[in-house]
Structure formats: C-alpha cells, structure tokens
Symmetry: D3
Subunit: 114 residues, 6 copies
Amino acid sequence: MDDQLKKLEKSIGEVPQVMHKWADSDPELKKAVAEMDSIVWEDGRLSRQTKKIIAICVAAALRDRHAVRAQAAGADKLGVEFEDVAEALRVTFLLAGMPAYVYGRTAIEDLMKR
Amino acid sequence: MDDQLKKLEKSIGEVPQVMHKWADSDPELKKAVAEMDSIVWEDGRLSRQTKKIIAICVAAALRDRHAVRAQAAGADKLGVEFEDVAEALRVTFLLAGMPAYVYGRTAIEDLMKR
Amino acid sequence: MDDQLKKLEKSIGEVPQVMHKWADSDPELKKAVAEMDSIVWEDGRLSRQTKKIIAICVAAALRDRHAVRAQAAGADKLGVEFEDVAEALRVTFLLAGMPAYVYGRTAIEDLMKR
Amino acid sequence: MDDQLKKLEKSIGEVPQVMHKWADSDPELKKAVAEMDSIVWEDGRLSRQTKKIIAICVAAALRDRHAVRAQAAGADKLGVEFEDVAEALRVTFLLAGMPAYVYGRTAIEDLMKR
Amino acid sequence: MDDQLKKLEKSIGEVPQVMHKWADSDPELKKAVAEMDSIVWEDGRLSRQTKKIIAICVAAALRDRHAVRAQAAGADKLGVEFEDVAEALRVTFLLAGMPAYVYGRTAIEDLMKR
Amino acid sequence: MDDQLKKLEKSIGEVPQVMHKWADSDPELKKAVAEMDSIVWEDGRLSRQTKKIIAICVAAALRDRHAVRAQAAGADKLGVEFEDVAEALRVTFLLAGMPAYVYGRTAIEDLMKR
C-alpha cells in the first residue's frame, strides 16, 4: 500500500478493494481519485466521523448497495457509532423513501458493531 | 399554523409551503407527514444542525431541485453555517458526481447567508 | 396530426408537444415511439385511467418534473379523478420519499381539476 | 406479531422481514412506519390490489431490487394477478427504460404464480 | 432464435436472456422491444461500437447492475476494446460519482477481455 | 481565467459558470475539479467529441437538466454535430426511458446548431 492510500485509510477507515487494484491497473485514475478523496475526507470544519455518516446516508439515498457497504465497512474503525448512523438514516427515509432507508439500515446491521 | 406545524418549524427552520396547504386540503396526510417529520428531526444523538446538513447533501445527491432548496431555506434559522454545508457537499460530489454537487452548492449560495 | 398521433391522443388524453415536433424532424423515431406508446397505453387488462395513474406515480418517483407534468396534463381528458391520483401518490411517498410525492402532488394541483 | 403488524399484513400481503426486526430493535421507527404504511395501503378510492401494482411499477422504475421483490412477494396473497402487473410494467418501460422493466418482470416471474 | 433476434444479436453482440424468454411468453412485447432495439443499435452516424460504449456508461451512471453487465457481456463480440470503455467510464465518474464508475469498471473487468 | 481553466475550455468547449465562481470562492475545490476534468476530457483513446456525446447521454439518463444543458452548451464549439448526439440519445431512450431522452433532445435543440 503506497503512502497516498495509507493516508486515505486513516481518513476513511478502510480503503475499498478497487482502489488497491487500480493502484496497479490504472495509476493515473487511482492518483486522481485519491486526491479527490483527500479533499473530501480530510479534517476540516466537520469531523471525519460526521462525513462518514453523511456518506452512508447519501449512498443509501442513491440505493447504491456497493457504496453503502463500502462506506459502512470502514465506519467502526473511525469510531462512528451504530446508533448515530441509524438516527441519521431517518433523514434518508424521509427524503428518499423507506426502501432507501432499508439499504442503509441493512448495511450497518451487517457491517457495524452495536 | 397549528401546534404540530409550529413544533416542526422549530425543528427544521422553515415549514415547506406544501405542508401549510395540506393542513387544509389533506389533513390526514399532513398529520402523518408531521409525525414522521418529528421522528426524523427531533433532538436526539445528532443535532438538528447536523441533520439539516445531511438533508441538504442527500437532496443534492438525488438532484432534487425542490428538496434541496426547501432544506437550504431553513438552514440559516437553525444556525447552520454556509461553510459547513459547503464542506459536507464534497461527500455528495464524490458519491453522486459533480452536477449533484452543483445542485447543492447553487441552493446554499442562493438561500444561505455567508 | 396524423392517424397514429390521433389514436395516441385518444389513449393518453394529450399528445406531448415533442411528439408533434418529431413527426417532422425525426419521423423514424416518432413512429417507433408511437408504436411503443400504443402497446403501453392500449386498452387491456387495466384501464387507460389506471395506467395514467401509474404513469404519474412513476414519473413522480423519478423526480421527473417534465414527465409528471406531461402525464398530469392529459389526465382530466381521460376522466381520471384528482382524488384517485392523490391517493395513489402516497405509494410514491413511501417508496421514493416525501419530495417525490411533492413533485406529483404539485403537478396534479396545477394541471388537474378538483 | 403485534396488532399493528397483523393489520398491515392484511393490507399488503406480507410484512417485510425488516419490520419484524425493527419491532424489537427500533420500536419508535417501526411504529411510525406502520402508521405511514396504514395510511398508504388502507382501503380507499383505489383497491389494495391496484396500489400493490403501482408499488411494483414504482419500485421497478427506481431499479430497486429489494423493494420490487418485497412488493412482488406479497402480491399473490392479495389476489393480484401476474398478467395485470406485467401489463402495468409497460408503463415503467416507457418512463424508466427497458432495464427498469426487467427489474420488475424478473421479480414477478420469480415470486408470483402465473 | 427467430430472424429478428438473429439480426439483433449481430448489432449488440449478445441478446439478453430475457429477450429469448419473452419471445415465447410475451411475443407482442418482444416484437416491440426488438423494433426499438433495431432503431437504437442499427448502423448509422455512430458505429455500433461507440453506441455500446455509450450504453455501458449510461447503465453505470444509473447504478444498474443488470443493465451494465448485459451491455458489457456483448462488448467483446462487437470488437469493443476494454481500454476504450475504461476511458469512457471516466465521464460517468465525473457526472454520476465514483461508485457509478465502480459499477461500470467492475462489470468490464469481469466480462471483457483485456 | 487562469491557465487551468483556459486548458479546460479547450477540452470541453465551454467552462461552466460555476467553475469561474469557484476559482474565487473555493480555490481548493476548483483545483481538484479542474484536475479531475483534465483526466476525464483530455485527448486519449476516445476523441473529445465522443466524450462530449457520452456526457450528454449520461446527463440525460440522469434527468439532470443543468448537467445536460451545461454539456450541450459547449458541444458546437468542439465540432460535435447535432445529428450525432440525436442518434446517441436513442441509447438513453432505451436504457432510461422516453422522458430521459426528452431531457437530452430538448437541450440539444435549444443549444446546438442544426
């Protein structure tokens, strides 16, 4: 794992498998994505924990099974708590419908500690 | 404005016009929505401010012009700061694409104080 | 208006402006769309009225402002009643979120008689 | 199964597994969802059968594999007929594209009697 | 396989399983879809290869796992090259977000020769 | 207009207004987006013209009024021809439904020369 990915892992808890793969197969894209990632996730006005919660809510709203699970997978390592995400996902329920909530809830029940 | 809507206004900053309209034309639905709203927005583990930021990010990710503006419209009154939402919307950029970010950014530039 | 479009107007209440335009500018596409339309909307096991209600619910769920208004515009002529669509849109609320419902509700309030 | 869920099962044919789970883990949300559900699905101007068909069409249009299967799973018990849903899904085809239709068609072929 | 499907296979590389099934179970729909397909895919100003690339990018942007795989499955047979699709999918990344890109990238890594 | 934006304008025909604005208000984001843009749009295995067509098809499939118009606005300057985009948008029709096609078709009729 190169330095860029190591730094990213610290920010998001777990670097998705695809990023490791792209490090070999498409280094130009991997570099661009890692830079974008660092701007998105780096410490700022909001904590990395809050950004992780937002990411899970957005991925669930998009009914994106892979993204929601990729985000949920790293949440524990960042110290995000299950109950906080569960509460946040109610916003997804209201704005994107009950099934969108189920995408998120199922992912955190499968991948986060309670 | 009845008590349920008054309470809601305190939680979300500004009750959407449609809710006022439905209070007359479809009281049963208005009641159900207001109840759901109160479960979503009420004080809990996350602050109302954080939930508002999540709502703007989700609405932008869905490319929903009306929802993103309805959410942004009440943000100032809750004390949500422009720069916090701007930072949060980067998560929307990564997960839903640059144009989704533009939906959110444009709404907060139009409707929030800087 | 050619025969194909006349028949379509009978099925859906109002032929969208684009179809008239394409009749000149892209007759091949217009023909294909009109054929597809006739398979979709023709009398069958479900009435045209029920199909129109489904179309409004689907267009609202997709947050598609143009489609939902195009569908709502022809609903009165087919004898679809406002209250039936309003009730059906609750399904859209549950499955696609409150703002999706607002897309549909606003369209029928603007374009249908009560 | 408590009374609220029993009543819901009568309306929608089959209560999704998640609802049973939430009855224990998040009773507040379960109660809110069940109330919303009862407003959506209860007998009204449209029959429960028609609402079920609309729900399948909307879930398919959203390309929501879980929602379309959850809806299709209860359809037989309500007396909804395969051919009626198949015809209705043509609206989804027109408004949301051929692959959205495939989501719906596949679900009813797997889960409904013919 | 009837003549219409044979012709289609030549245009798109591989006819989806559902089309073969519908040839028996719903001949009217199969006919309409095949006609629409031939207008979409037939040789024109753009090559079939370019249209295939567009289809993969669109299906990925919609986060549609089935459509993106159905499109990728026929790409080799048409002579579409892996690297061309990989480059095109960057447009999907920008417009629909990183996870949408992952849908497309994963599909072509699984289903296309490199 | 700084060098990065000038280079981008050459690749995509017209830099969206928001980019100019962000150059002042959020230089960090502007830089990241411009870098991502250059990886997406730069000359490669596919021509800038083909990528522009893909972008219009994807934006239309997402029913994204702003993105589809932003993409269409620069198409003429790149030498993209109306008829090529019109043909490509049929792929959007098939995969995302007739209304998605209308989003694209309307944008190119408004913003491109014929």
